[in-house]
Amino acid sequence: MSLNTIGYYFREAAASLVRNSWLSMASVGTVIISLLLLGSALLLVLNVRHIISRVESSLEITVFLEDGLEEERLERLEEEIKFVPGVARVEFVSQDQALEELKKSFGEKAAILDGLEEDNPLPNSFRVKTRQAEMVPEAAVQLSQLEGVEQVRYGQGVVEKLLALTRWVRLWGTLTIAVLGAASIFLIATTIRMSVFARRREIGIMKILGATNFFIRMPFMLEGMIIGLVGGLVVVLLIYFGYLSLLNKVAMTLPFIQLISDPAVLYRVLGGLLGLGFGLGAVGSAISLHRFLRV
């Protein structure tokens, strides 16, 4: 393949894009919308996972015990807790320790707790950590059924809500993105079909002159790929700058929320989106050529 031939492919693809400029732009538009949604959903899910993994390390279950349990019973209970599925670590917190910690958290006002040492109202407890945040609710239920356990508490709600959010985003995000992806492919295919139609006479002449199928198809393939790539490029820029400004805003107003700021992760997401745009374009063209350019 000579340089001249490659130049020919690009010239023809560009000419077609300009000729059907409205349809080309509509196709680029759908690629942008679908990739933008995909990118946003992806970043949301990644960030929620990131946050959960950080919450996770501080997330523990507190198992409050009934009063007056014997030393022997406490030791047995610790063993039983270790056998609950998902449990990674167990730590005994005595009444006295619990009071100490409470005092610490009160800081300067700890004085109001003075005198409680005599008749400590706090129960003995176990601090339990699970291997993953997802295992907390299940483990909590099992722990509450153990004998001698009075009550089980954990960051109730937070974990469930975060998990529900990711599940929701995954389900609806996947559906929406699938529909929009199909729409982009369809529109790209339509654009290519119009290009083929506009040039059917020329295609006939090319066949007579002995052009290979590859040669005839290449400009149209390229046209779809350019549509996909342009859409992908716009999305990459939008998401890159949008996300950077989001990071800034969050860092200013909600400093305790730590979003993903690792460039490696970000570049991988952006690269994936660009590649996907390219892929959408290629698939759209291929479908159209398969159906409308039987040579």
Binding site: R201, E202, I205, L209, G210, T212
Partner: protein
């Protein structure tokens, strides 16, 4: 060079276009295909460039059986066959030069080669001064000569012309025929389907007459020979 053995062609809609045609054409021959409309002249040319496959029989060009040819080999067969049509089939938004160059471009030829070969073809058909013009600004004869230049630029072994003078006035037709004769003298085989009886009579070349899909006459240096 070209052999047809008992070739029949029946189109899917039931039309019998060719019926048991056996024909041999040697390298360097100039053959007129004559006969009324619907006699099978166009079908015969379509079989030769592998646009259609015969329903029965064999078509062999340069020892290659076209029925056994794989799809991806067809373009390379067509590059050896120059085609000229009644309606010229030029690309309207390309200049004369670009139209002729296109036949080379699709073969992956380099710019350098195109710049060398295209002017030679244009000189052969006498259009070197109109290289930069669009087909719409040319006369019918000039458009057809552009088409001939495009057909010969690849150095084909065979030229298939389907009523090349059909849209031209008599004088222009004669000039075009002289051009074909020159090309033929340089060794290129030419097969021409035509209704122009005066040209056929004057050229004194081999005439193959088709009627209802069969060869009814095949004579060296013949005349048109039937009333149309």
């Amino acid at each position: 060079m070209i052999q047809l053995y008992n070739v029949s062609k029946i189109y899917p809609n039931g039309v019998k276009a060719l019926n048991d045609v056996t024909l041999h054409i040697r390298k360097g021959e100039f053959v007129f295909l004559v006969g009324p409309s619907g006699a099978g002249k166009s079908t015969l040319t379509k079989l030769l460039c592998r646009e259609e496959l015969p329903s029965r029989g064999q078509v062999i060009i340069n020892g290659r059986n076209l029925a056994r040819m794989k799809n991806r080999e067809i373009p390379y067969l067509r590059r050896k066959i120059g085609m000229v049509f009644q309606d010229f089939r030029l690309i309207p938004n390309k200049t004369v030069f670009e139209n002729v160059a296109f036949a080379l471009e699709i073969t992956g030829a380099s710019r350098k080669e195109i710049k060398k070969v295209v002017p030679m073809a244009l000189r052969m058909v006498g259009l070197e001064k109109k290289a930069g013009m669009l087909p719409a600004h040319l006369s019918g004869g000039e458009q057809q000569r552009t088409c001939v230049a495009r057909a010969i630029v690849n150095n084909p072994v065979l030229i298939l012309a389907d009523e090349p003078t059909g849209n031209l006035d008599p004088e222009t037709s004669w000039e075009l025929m002289k051009l074909f004769r020159d090309i033929n003298r340089r060794g290129t085989t030419i097969i021409m389907a035509t209704h122009a009886w005066d040209i056929v009579d004057a050229m004194k070349k081999r005439v193959v007459e088709l009627s209802q899909g069969s060869v009814v006459r095949d004579e060296e240096s013949g005349g048109y020979g039937y009333e149309s």
